[in-house]
Symmetry: C2
Subunit: 331 residues, 2 copies
DNA sequence: CTGTTAGCGCGTTCAA
DNA sequence: TTGAACGCGCTAACAG
């Protein structure tokens, strides 16, 4: 920067101001400096700037990525979200640091906020260790979590109204005349448990008793979801519809049912959850409860940046919406 | 750090040395300092360290993520790879910066290497602008590219032997007795063009003329791939097998064929390319040419870090391997 | 509008 | 084995 200053015949401060777009600098001076900087192929060193300004314009995104060792597939939902977050952050001139391990995992010494690597963290999914999450956000409030609205937590949550979504999906199947509607999804994940609550609520609100034999647990992984779907078939329990707790589960279920010679939606109607991009390309295309991934991602970025600026922001529940396509058999 | 030094009754230098694991510090002193630092919840500021050391222990990963605006789905291949890269980098104590836009794209002023944000870049896919890529790597050689081996380029490429892979897949279908083997894939992408070369080579090496009417172009996107598969059907050209240039295309083709009442693999045998994690969960499970995603990702990280250290490393072509599952109809 | 001065927090000399 | 001094490259405060 010193060299640029010399070439332009000004002080380093002026160069700094010109390059950071400060209004406190003459139009001509600025243009001259910009030109020289460009021709010298000069760029401001980001570490020095971060050190000085005590901010990084970087957000960490904590996301459950594929575990190759275990042949575990990551849900495309997260990856659709990643695309949205990348765009939303880039639009605000923020960089994205991608991480798999939670800062409270053992073996992790520090976190990106404390060591000055990021200004805030977006955590995808509450995960299993709710207490660790709460302890962490107590210390570092510059966090937004994607997930289910569990109770009056101190951290900011963004997500859809999972109970309403579960109810919406189930009632849609009821209205289509389905009598034996099953639930497929693993309630270990908080969001899934809420969707199951919505499923139950649909029956209760319509004066129908919930048949517990129709509730099947399936983890979020595609391969195991297929295994679960096969168990459903072998259980001998009859059903003419399934509300699947995610689109991945729905696609697995459809594959399994078809392989067993059943027709979707004729024999079994399917409704998924998420509305991932691929849901519309699958055959049959999925009827699903939209998680408004685009809106959700943008909202998370918006709220997090506001929180970093010190503004007070609130947990946000996005309204749900049913996207009707082929798999439910609606006319 | 000054405070920690005071608490420990030593100088800042000693604290710095203790925390960075320097051998130039007494065992007792180190333990005392570590204890104090931990109890004070102190962490070294990463920006100051980076500034001083002129390195960041951060790698940028440039990856084509989903375009939500255009409803464009990103290939799960990239995302499987992302998981592997995250693990490989984390193992070497490197952080991962995720980016969608190439540094040579218009509107991008600088790049992460020049401004000190990253020590190197992993670029997923050569993309369309081969010249821009070459110009960039001329200036910044700390780059590894995943893709096809095009010619003696100056930048480091890691990838599978796409020609051999295309040949392997096609010959496998020949050996299974298929007579009308089609190709589905968009040769605009360099890797796909190479796979098509392999497809042609399989015919030539077996003394069979290539039937150009069996070569169909399909972009990498799932929805358009389905459209292309439908065009194949409507074209009236008969075929009893398809070599699909990616697993995503293969899954789309299978969906389309099944919707049209055809059986896979009985009526049409399918071989894909990539061996993404979901390939084994799909129904029917995909016979596919493995891209050795795990090995490939680890190799990229390994080579890039060596190159950053100044060692000379070479472009690496991973050997291909056919993973035989259900979709090809092998006994 | 511009220059001077100081310091962000660390790692690395050099000297002891 | 430790401490003192310096400077990485930048921006903010102040003075002009």
């Amino acid at each position: 920067m010193f060299e640029i200053a010399q070439l332009a015949g000004v002080s380093e401060s002026t160069v700094s101001r010109a390059l950071s777009g400060s209004p406190l600098v003459n139009e001509n001076t600025r243009n001259r400096i910009l030109k020289i900087a460009r021709s010298a192929n000069y760029t401001v060193n980001i570490n020095a700037r971060n050190l000085r300004q005590k901010r990084t314009r970087t957000i960490e995104v904590l996301i459950p990525l594929a575990e190759y060792g275990r042949q575990h597939m990551s849900d495309p939902f997260y990856l659709d979200m990643l695309g949205v977050l990348a765009d939303a952050l880039s639009e605000r001139h923020y960089d994205m640091l991608l991480t798999k391990r939670a800062p409270w995992a053992k073996g992790v010494e520090t976190n990106s906020i404390q060591c000055g690597r990021a200004d805030g963290i977006i955590i995808m999914g509450q995960g299993q260790d709710l207490e660790a999450l709460r302890n962490f956000t107590d210390l570092y409030p510059q966090v937004v979590v994607w997930g289910g609205h569990l109770r009056e937590d101190d951290y900011i949550v963004v997500g859809t109204d999972n109970v309403a979504g579960g109810k919406l999906a189930t009632e849609h199947l009821m209205k289509l005349g389905r009598k034996r509607i099953a639930f497929l999804g693993d309630p270990a994940e908080p969001e899934i448990a809420l969707r199951q609550q919505g499923y139950r609520k649909a029956f209760l609100d319509n004066g129908i008793a919930v048949d517990e034999s129709l509730i099947f647990s399936a983890p979020f992984d595609a391969r195991e979801a297929r295994a679960s779907a096969e168990k459903m078939l072998q259980s001998g329990v009859s059903f003419d519809a399934i509300f699947c707790a995610s689109d991945v589960i729905a696609m697995s279920a459809i594959t399994t049912l078809r392989n067993a010679g059943l027709d979707v939606p004729r024999d079994v109607a399917i409704v998924g959850y998420d509305d991932i991009l691929i849901a519309n390309s699958f055959g049959p295309s999925l009827t699903t409860v939209s998680q408004r991934i685009q809106e959700g991602g943008k909202t998370m970025v918006e709220l997090l940046l506001q929180r970093i600026e010190g503004k007070s922001v609130d947990t946000t529940l996005l309204p749900v919406e049913l996207v009707v396509r082929e798999s439910c058999g609606a006319p």
